[in-house]
Symmetry: C2
Subunit: 339 residues, 2 copies
DNA sequence: CTGAAAGCGCTTACAG
DNA sequence: CTGAAAGCGCTTACAG
């Protein structure tokens, strides 16, 4: 869309009696401009409502002020929270975000196509694609700044914004042990992905800290969907020595486990306590409401955009890891074990 | 990001021995190019991996090949489905999408700022902002092509992609009547918005067709949230002559009504049938699973992008209304009334 | 059916 | 601290 007669840099230059280069310096906060000159440019720009044209800037500066955000549609509220956080930060710094749905199965080439086609300045990779070190490495080797959300620690040294899964899992399991549970089942998401692995490690840590062990038959692997939660729930709860509590790696699977418990005639939390992970909207809509872990997903989006923009504007920025903390949210799906 | 030596239109022109204007004609499917010439340009472009630079096109043509999509975060899966549909269609036609969270309360000015700042070619407005005729009218008066999702019929003649709420409601209520229900409660979303009004109208139509009337005490207005569903459910189901079925205007409120029924010691669907609207993920995660209406949200996104691009590329395109149809999804939350 | 010229609104690289 | 020139990679408007 085009507004009829948008003022340009030339208008500001003419009206202020300066060259457009000087106006450009002020717009871009470049320094080496007398304070008085700077102020004059700002006044005139404000007065005529001048906004730099992002298309022209993009062409001349060879950057677009647009960031890409790849996502997978596994979890709508996660994706949207992340997007909103990143958008808030990006907009405040003069950037826009173009989302790109992909699943990583199509490889780095597909993402590279997107990057080239959309002409973006950098990318935020959300899980599960962010787990694929090879894709991150490839994008970076092409000179594309990348920030990974919840990427795997061991992989390429790209910037990561991570959630401390392990200590969150420790907190949850310690809470269940504190209630008196000793047989606590574990329902993992996709087995080879980092988050579930780290949560399992934290779960085992917390058990070990109280001298407890995790029985192999008390572990079930799903894929973060409700249906897989039902299947895992049935498997765990049909056992003779069934767990009195089940730790699930997301809220959807926890909903599935609750569903399975009901199918087996078990009361939640009377016969079995169930915990989730994420504090998705569903956690409040279940009956009973779900004890869970809240990830600061929106904040992760904010941090990711902030770090990515820093990398774009200063290529010398060193990759780092931001690790954000959980909160444990207690609701109705957990109780002391029945004696 | 910048790929090292991206081929430009000049490379294609030089290699093919043609002018860059001719290459440009081929790229833009402009016609008036000999078929043989066209083919040669295409071959060379493919061979050297030429992709037109969107920044340069944007600057020269005064359009960006980017579409804006405003959204409200009320319902994550709705927003994401819409975005994915619009994205699929837009990408296939060479456009990208920039999402913009807003709630309409900040008025047209806020959206106009976004449009100017992002330099987009047109906007898709999703509900509830799309219901605000004044905003649509204002954007259009500034020459910005707009397509509304689920906008109100009575308002400005902007293009609308709509869901036929009324006949969907008729189908749902007719189904409940077919089961033998005669006292059917209605839980509306925000009272003054079109969708709920149209659903109420359909509900009343279907009742009237069987000679039934909707008792005023069987109507409750919520705001599409789970909590409002609980409140409405308690209000309706505590009555002496309580309904034997409750028609809810979305799945979240239906989840709330089911929750309320349980709190009152009522079995669903034994004592009361409950129906939803949307077929959101939660519909499958409830216990019992929810009988509901599926809106083709993704298809609405596809259609909206298609229409908007048509308007951008041909300003003479006349506004029209696309009305997409529902499907009724029968699950476990509905049954014959207990006699 | 094809092309040479001008220009979109900025920034870069250089000069002073 | 400031500016004149050139150019980013395309499209527009015009001419043939």
């Amino acid at each position: 869309m085009e507004r009829s007669k948008k003022p340009t840099i030339n208008d500001v230059a003419r009206l202020s009696g300066l060259s457009k280069k000087t106006v450009s310096r002020v717009i871009n906060n470049e320094g080496f401009v007398r304070e008085e000159t700077r102020q004059r440019v700002r006044d005139i720009a404000a007065q005529i409502g001048y906004q730099p044209d992002r298309r022209a800037r993009a062409l001349a500066a060879k950057r677009s002020f647009i960031i890409g955000l790849t996502f997978d549609n596994a979890n709508a509220s996660y994706v949207l929270d992340l997007l909103q956080g990143a958008l808030a930060e990006a907009n405040a710094r003069g950037y826009e975000i173009i989302p790109h749905p992909t699943d990583g199965a199509r490889g780095a080439g597909e993402v590279a196509d997107f990057i080239a086609r959309a002409g973006i300045d950098g990318a935020i990779l959300s899980p599960p694609m962010s787990e694929l070190g090879a894709i991150t490495a490839e994008l970076m080797s092409w000179g594309c700044p990348v920030v990974r959300i919840a990427g795997d620690d061991a992989a390429t040294p790209a910037h990561q914004v991570r959630f401390d899964d392990r200590s969150a899992a420790v907190a949850m399991t310690a809470y269940l042990i504190g209630l008196g549970h000793t047989r606590i089942g574990f329902v993992g998401g996709t087995e080879h992905q980092g988050p579930s692995r780290r949560r399992l490690a934290g779960h085992i840590d917390a058990l070990a800290a109280r001298g407890l062990a995790l029985a192999p038959e008390h572990i079930a692997w799903g894929d973060f969907t409700f249906a897989s939660g039902v299947a895992c729930g049935l498997r765990l709860l049909r056992q003779a020595g069934r767990p009195s509590a089940v730790f699930c790696c997301n809220d959807e699977m926890a909903a599935g486990v609750i569903h399975a418990a009901r199918d087996l005639g078990l009361d939640v939390p009377g016969d079995v306590s169930v915990t989730g992970f994420d504090d998705a909207p569903i956690a409040l809509q279940l009956w009973p409401t779900l004890t869970t872990i809240k990830q600061p997903v929106r904040d992760m989006g904010v941090t990711a955009a902030q770090r990515l923009i820093a990398m774009i504007e200063n290529p010398a920025t060193r990759p780092a890891v931001d690790e954000l903390r959980h909160s444990l949210i207690l609701r109705e799906s957990t109780a002391k074990p029945r004696q």
